[in-house]
């Protein structure tokens, strides 16, 4: 047979397409590999170069380069490639997810308080505690609470603290003075609310007494302080507590500010505050240097308000982690690099350049650092807050999408949605996410 009809050709092509489709679909039963790398492969890269993925927290690229130069000088056989992996922690997490699929993984990656757990839960990060021990390095000098933040069960730790922060209460001293307020932060949020009319009058129209991140940014982090100060919180371990009385009260306070125009939420709250659009900003210690540089007013810094003198706030920021999928030789280089980047001298350099907290106990005892903090009390405040910090709620940092989910609900509350029903829905969606995405992976 030498001829083929058009119909015959189309039938053949269709058959090939269906066969190809079926072949592609093969393996969907039960569980299926996503071709996203194994836990023990090479993960690309080589053992003479350390690839460091960072978002350069608080515009720290120059500082990171300076620290890297020090590391390379001390370890001439190793070169470090600093990679711009995103403009924030979430973008770094997304890039790392893509690398897990593509197989070209970094040696060291910045992981935030929100992003590290999902990687650890899915066995994508190496146990840094074991790597420290295996390479004759110690974890004992890390600030205990910051080191403990990267452990969730067993003895494994999945990152070492790097750019760690707490929220601070920033205020515009010029507006404070004009409003006739004492030069201090409020004792609690109710006192702050009572100051709002005076602050509003001093600011003038179109400006707000307090500026907070919006829900697409870090409102879910800063609002945690407010919720805690009213005796509420996001969750008790894995059980959501959004609809409990204290959290609802905090939500009502937030909504009250919005209704009276005392509150402005923003995707770039630091810039808005620096531009004089508000009297108060609740934001990371890592923003100190930026606000000092951009703000054209006297900057006051205080502990976050809390009732009855019970002061507490969450830690935040990021640590440095090592992918599980790279070779043992690369892991050895990586742990050596992280240890250097977070040693006493490096963390002093980094914290003085950015406002983040020193992560080593010996750094806090260092005489030069003590002198620096005495000279710059606004930087010292973050350190004095440290003993009062509380671990963050699982609902925010451990449940996948927790921060975005809470931020969305808080945005709705700011816009006027009923607080109780919004938080009830949040309880339900958080529980559903935990049941489907976390519970099956936790050890019994």
């Amino acid at each position: 047979m030498t001829d083929m009809t058009r119909r015959g050709l189309l039938t053949a092509a269709g058959g090939i397409a269906v066969a190809g489709g079926l072949a592609a679909c093969a393996g969907t039963g039960g569980s299926t590999s996503t071709n996203s790398g194994s836990s023990g492969g090479g993960g690309g890269g080589n053992s003479s170069q350390i690839e460091f993925w960072s978002n350069h927290p608080a515009m720290s690229k120059a500082t990171e380069q300076k620290l890297i130069a020090g590391f390379e000088k001390k370890n001439p056989s190793l070169k470090v490639k600093l990679v711009d992996a995103g403009k924030n922690y979430e973008e770094v997490g997304q890039k790392f997810n893509a690398a897990l699929g593509g197989g070209n993984q970094p040696d060291v990656v910045v992981v935030s308080d929100v992003t590290w757990f999902n990687f650890a839960l899915n066995k994508r990060l190496a146990d840094v505690a074991a790597l420290l021990a295996a390479n004759g390095l110690s974890s004992s000098d890390y600030v205990d609470s910051l080191y403990a933040d990267y452990n969730f069960q067993g003895s494994e730790h999945y990152a070492l603290p790097y750019s760690r922060s707490t929220p601070l209460f920033y205020y515009n001293k010029d507006v404070w003075k004009k409003a006739g307020l004492p030069d201090r932060g409020p004792k609690d949020w109710d006192e702050f609310t009572s100051w709002c009319p005076a602050l509003q009058k001093a600011l003038g129209s179109g400006k707000a007494p307090i500026i907070l991140d919006d829900g697409s940014d870090y409102l879910d982090w800063t609002f945690q302080c407010i919720a805690w100060s009213y005796g509420g919180g996001y969750s008790d371990k894995w059980t959501p507590t959004f609809s409990e009385a204290g959290t609802v009260k905090a939500g009502q306070v937030l909504q009250g500010w919005a209704k009276k125009k005392y509150l402005k939420t923003s995707a770039d709250s630091q810039s808005d505050f620096s531009a004089g659009l508000g009297a108060v900003l609740l934001e990371s210690t890592g923003d100190i240097s930026g606000i000092q540089k951009d703000g054209k007013f006297g900057l006051g810094v205080a502990f976050v308000p809390a009732p009855n003198g019970i002061k507490t706030c969450p830690t935040g920021g990021a640590g440095l982690a090592i992918p599980q999928g790279i070779s043992d030789a690369r892991k050895k280089n990586a742990i050596k690099f992280i240890e250097f980047m977070t040693n006493a001298q490096s963390t002093i350099t980094f914290s003085q350049a950015t406002g983040y907290m020193p992560v080593r106990k010996s750094a806090l005892d260092d005489s030069a650092e003590k002198a620096y903090l005495a000279k710059n009390p606004e930087y010292a405040l973050a350190v004095t807050q440290l003993p009062k910090t509380r671990p963050q709620a699982y609902a925010r940092v451990f449940v996948p999408g927790g921060g975005a989910r809470i931020g969305q609900a808080l945005d709705k509350i700011v816009a006027g949605s009923d607080v109780t029903s919004t938080f009830k829905e949040l309880d339900a969606s958080t529980t559903a996410a935990y049941n489907t995405q976390v519970k099956p992976l936790l050890k019994a």
Partner: protein, 309 residues
Amino acid sequence: MTSAAVPPAPVGDPPRRRGRPIGEWTLAGLLLLPNLVLLVVFTYRPLIDNVRLSFTSWNISAPVAHYIGTANYVRWWHDPNSHQVLINTVVFTVATVGVSMVLGLALAMLLDQKLRGRNIVRSVLFAPFVISGAAVGIAFQFVFDPNFGLIRDLAQRVGVTVPDFYQQPHWALFMVTVTYIWKNLGYTFVIYLAALQGRRADLDEAAEIDGASPWRRFTKVLLPQLRPTTYFLSITVLLNSVQVFDIINVMTRGGPQGYGTATMVYQVYKETFVNSQAGYGATIATIMFVFLLVVTLVQVRLMDRGRQT
């Protein structure tokens, strides 16, 4: 004398030759092969993979995905965020397709006239189309900024209060829609302009001699001639509009209030990369694919019917 037997005259058409020589098919196959390979590897295989993943609970960080049947589809159907996203997608798409085609045609008709400086104006109108969406998004943040924006400044001069475009979902959706239309208007304008320049001017002149009004000449003479272009634009503009991501990501990150300006493409991104639920993201992508396929088929069918009439 016996006459020689005469073969019977053929009845009806001669038998049709069935098919082409296999050599021609082989040559055609060889010529098509490189493109087909690229299409299979980079389009159809990922498409099939996406459909496969839509039936799993894959966490994007996990090395394995677990099959969960149609649970993701059921979840999408009942998810209030999905309902809002679907409404956003429809509103955004209808507005961008409708407005950019009407404005594009109007501008094309205007600049088809012999006006001084029309080439400069044509270039200016087309320029935004070649600028990246991210750059346009950043520029328009300064236009809509509630504190320092151009719109606020202009409105204040005439005593009008402007809303906070970033905090109210319907105003935020309006903002990204206007921005998208501004960026892509040049495309519809150029295609319509080319169609206008290729039309039969004699028909218009004949209608004018017959005393037809300008509106009647527009609806009965010009628009029918532009029908193929209109169908083409309606399909391409719709496909581009539904897939917008850059402007929304830069201006609102899908917010306010979580999904205030999120369209289906943005929801795919958010579920997959922000919430780590890649299986659910694949489900939304599959639903969007089916939705677009149906809409495109309907448009093609209408176009065919239009040609026949």
